[in-house]
């Protein structure tokens, strides 16, 4: 059995010896280095571009929008983002010019001899600015996209409510901060333009380059190199970098390498969408929710890019893992003159998760009720219906994860103990040491839809295949990328399991668009559940073909494949490898492709935005224990306990690695990570002052994997990549609330923000 075992990861050896080749590790003969010249204003137009006459420009390749053979747009949802600005500037760090030179010193020198003058216009820099419509920068109302979903009768629901509780929550930008900065190499050629680099989605780049350069499928080859983290940040933006490198390479007719340094990467590439989320909830005195009205606004930045899809995931997850019969959720994404926000692990869901979980804390506090009890009263269970009208028919691990997390963390006893110790502190003013540090424990509960939203997977029809190599071993053909999460390893396990082979016999083809089919992007927690399923189906086809072949060859009707051997009852006829070789020798090749088909039970209505928004959900619960220093207002997360239902862990160690990594990234979101803006420019675009968690910030973590099998996933697996990013921020805020009495409706919970909140509590108490 390969599935469920912690086999050694396929790409381990190269990564541990330093032999793995990342894009910046490659140097090609005659290669130039590229650089992007960017705007230094947030909004306006270019008045002039001047090149110092004293500088020797003969050694510099310069490209601008006029060098683009096709239309000047980066292919995504809408054609609104130019590859290079022509005249109007819509955000700081917008690409205007590209330069290339044979060495980096010359390149930097050239950049200093280019002078761009602008006419500055008044920029729109916040959600409030955009909604006020004093300046119109998109359409007629600055709104990129709206959704309205709901069911039941909200007015009637509020009429039945005994209490109506309102809350407003604010969530910030967050930078993915993969440790390998973005980069790409473009190689021009007579046959094809080749792009190789750091990416999640080779076929996104393929499509963008074809459109920009008027090329056909075969004339563009995109190859993923070892990629040093993505987290969504290498979903859409690598298309821009690839196209920039390609444009320089096209003009220079030489290979061009374009690597961002950290400052440029943070300044220019997409972030998690910031948002403002308002809840108005009608509840009965016993805690049952009877009406819920939610309004969410996300800041999309200067261009549409992926914003409508992020918003759609946000609106669908806005009510969280709770049942309510009367719901209305309005969602809007607005335009600002800031760099476009885009994909980041969770994709709209972590924002709304902070809001819905803090709203639960608020409701519980106002009702004088335990918030765990409130969650249990309202939680979705199998057979319940979500805000989009989806009835949950399978793989609902909601109760299991909540119970597991609460029990393993000893939540209830700890919560009681902390609350008693706080009341004793308040009565004894002498014990300063105790008062100096306050402990609290908090809980969060969440769900995450796996795969694309709505009919996305049905439209995508992800493809993958398996071919038998000359040595009789199978090779997986898939456009899904390894970005550290373990694609290569889990695909090997799935195929090994289906073909009853040792996993080491399975090879994974490099993600190269000339050799692998389009499996869809490596995003949305879909690689295992969706593409893994397709790989499994392709393996089944290979198996069926070989069984048929062996049955005919041995004139044995009842052939089975067990432990790498074709068997009739207990008699071994031949082994897999031998028969696979023979098949290939006889017929020339054995290649099977499969494509994804949504489960027949799933129905989604794009017009009314209702129905089965996702084929299935993963479920999580998390308990955070914190210590707050009441002198410095620093919050230390002492311990995190999380239980997550992912259907089936194909590789438990890798799955736990996803959960732990996502959880710590969410600790950063909740406590540390904050971009500082000045007139549309990020001023802390460095690792010195954009703070992500170090090992010293990492709490002890206990991870419990719950496996409620999903019948349409490979061996029961659902998505795991994004689920864990939802839990930590609200659990920490709930723990801080218990520890200090301060209710934080905005993250990150920096010492400054916590101090203000605690001072407000103190002032309110003295009133």
């Amino acid at each position: 059995m390969a599935v469920g075992k912690n086999i050694l990861r396929k790409d381990g050896y190269e990564k541990l010896t330093g032999a793995a080749r990342y894009v910046d590790d490659v140097t090609l003969e005659g290669m130039l280095y590229g650089k992007t010249i960017r705007s230094r204003i947030a909004r306006g137009r270019i008045k002039s571009i001047a090149y110092d006459a004293a500088f020797d420009w003969s050694q510099i390749v310069i490209a601008d929008y006029r060098d683009i053979p096709g239309k000047n747009y980066v292919a995504l949802i809408e054609d609104d983002q130019p590859l290079l600005a022509e005249n109007e500037i819509r955000h700081y760090a917008e690409p205007i010019l590209l330069i290339a030179a044979a060495n980096k010193d010359l390149l930097e020198a050239a950049a200093h001899h280019i002078h761009i003058e602008y006419e500055q216009w008044s920029p729109v820099l916040s959600i409030e600015d955009a909604l006020a419509c004093r300046e119109i920068i998109y359409g007629t109302d600055n709104i990129f996209k709206r959704f309205l979903i709901g069911r039941g009768d909200v007015e009637e629901g509020f009429a039945q409510a005994e209490r109506i509780i309102e809350g407003e929550y604010r969530v910030p930008h967050q930078e993915q901060l993969y440790i390998e900065p973005q980069g790409m190499i473009a190689i021009p050629g007579n046959e094809a333009m080749t792009l190789m680099g750091s990416m999640q989605c080779p076929y996104y780049i393929h499509k963008a380059i074809k459109q920009l350069f008027h090329l056909n499928d075969e004339q563009v080859v995109v190859i993923q190199m070892t990629t040093g983290g993505g987290f969504g940040g290498k979903e859409e933006y690598p298309s821009v970098i690839a196209a920039h490198a390609a444009l320089l390479a096209h003009k220079a007719q030489r290979p061009v390498k374009l690597i961002y340094d950290r400052a440029e990467d943070i300044a220019a590439t997409p972030k998690r969408h910031p948002g403002v989320i308002r809840h108005r909830t009608g509840v009965r005195r016993d805690g049952r929710m009877v009406a819920s009205e939610i309004d969410l606004v996300f800041d999309g930045g200067a261009y549409v890019t992926l914003t409508p899809v992020v918003l759609s995931r946000g609106v669908i997850h806005a009510l969280g893992p709770y049942a309510c019969d009367n719901v209305r959720i309005q969602a809007r994404a607005i335009a600002t003159n800031t760099p476009p926000n885009g994909a980041f692990r969770g994709f709209g869901a972590p924002q709304v998760a902070f809001a819905y979980e803090m709203q639960m804390e608020k409701i519980a506090a106002e009702l004088g009720m335990d918030s765990l009890e409130l969650r249990r009263i309202n939680m979705l269970r199998e057979g319940d219906t979500t805000a989009t009208g989806q009835t949950l028919i399978w793989s609902v691990g909601s109760e299991e994860v909540l119970n597991e997390a609460v029990e393993r963390a000893n939540y209830q006893a700890q919560r009681l103990a902390f609350s008693q110790s706080h009341s004793s502190i308040q009565t004894s003013t002498t014990n300063h040491v105790e008062a100096h540090k306050r402990r609290g424990i908090g809980l969060s509960f969440f769900l995450h839809g796996a795969g694309f939203t709505g009919s996305g997977e049905a439209k995508m029809k992800a493809q993958a295949g398996i071919e038998i190599m000359a040595n009789g071993h199978p090779r997986v053909l898939s456009g899904s990328t390894e970005i550290g999460q373990g694609t290569r390893t889990i695909f090997s396990q799935i195929v090994a399991e289906e073909l009853s082979l040792d996993f080491s016999a399975v090879e994974i083809e490099e993600p190269d668009t000339s050799r692998v089919p389009d499996s869809g992007p490596t995003v949305a927690s879909r690689t295992c559940m969706v593409v893994g399923r397709v790989v499994q189906m392709a393996a089944r086809e290979v198996k069926a073909k070989l069984l048929h072949f062996v049955a005919e060859r041995f004139a044995a009707p009842e052939v089975e494949l067990r432990e790498g051997k074709f068997m009739v009852a207990e008699k071994a006829l031949a082994d897999f490898q031998e028969m696979a070789c023979e098949y290939v020798n006889l017929f020339g090749e054995l290649r099977c492709f499969a494509h994804y088909a949504s489960p027949p039970e799933i129905e989604w209505n794009e017009e009314t935005y209702s129905g089965d928004a996702y084929p299935v959900y993963s479920w999580g619960a998390e308990v955070a224990e914190v210590e707050v220093d009441m002198d410095t207002y620093e919050v230390t997360v002492v311990r995190l306990t999380t239980a997550q239902d992912i259907g089936r862990a194909i590789h438990p160690l890798l799955a736990a690695g996803q959960i732990e990594g996502g959880t710590l990234q969410a600790v950063g979101y909740g406590l540390l990570e904050e971009l500082v803006w000045d007139q549309g420019r990020i001023i802390n675009n460095r690792l010195t002052n954009y703070i992500i968690p170090t090992a010293l910030d990492a709490p002890d973590m206990e991870t419990i994997i719950v496996e409620k099998a999903y019948p349409h996933g490979p061996f029961g697996a659902k998505g795991v990549g994004e689920l864990p990013i939802n839990g930590a921020a609200p659990a920490i805020a709930a723990a801080v609330f218990q520890a200090t009495g301060a209710f934080l409706s905005e993250i990150p919970i920096t010492p400054e923000r916590l101090q203000a909140a605690i001072e407000k509590v103190t002032t309110d108490e003295h009133r």
Binding site: N6, L8, R9, D11, G12, Y13, E14, K15, L16, T17, G18, A19, A20, R21, Y22, D24, D25, T27, Q176, L177, Y178, I179, E180, P181, T226, T227, G228, G229, G230, F231, D261, R262, I483, G484, Q485, G486, L653, L654, A656, G657, E660, G661, G662, T663, L664, Q665, R686, L687, T688, I692, T694, A695, L696, A698, M701
Partner: protein, 138 residues
Amino acid sequence: MRRLLDVLREDLRLTGTKEGCGEGECGACSVIVDGEVINSCLVPVCQTQKAQILTVEGLAMDGRLNGLQQAFLECGGAQCGICTPGMLIAARALLEANAQPSRDEIKEAIAGNLCRCTGYVKIIDAIEQAATAPAQIL
């Protein structure tokens, strides 16, 4: 003035040592110079005259992973792999100085090496495991 990192990567083609920030914050470029872990992006190459330098390429012997690398592989200490060379180097320096570190000492020793994938749990597990068989590490 050239940085030690550039000479390692560009002249010697030892590309296992990575650049993540160029300002000594991320630790992806960690190497051991005369027994001390340093960020090679912050050190001018001229300061390393006659020094003994250990990079990730110097860990495996005859193509076989050493005990520390093997522990990272078994415990899930490497995901995307970009921080891994620096992390291994920081761990190596720790284990040379302290053969039996506590989890807190491990955290302290790798606090200058950022990882965005693992949440550090499995990296700490790996270093702890490697410490149980010190002979295979050094």
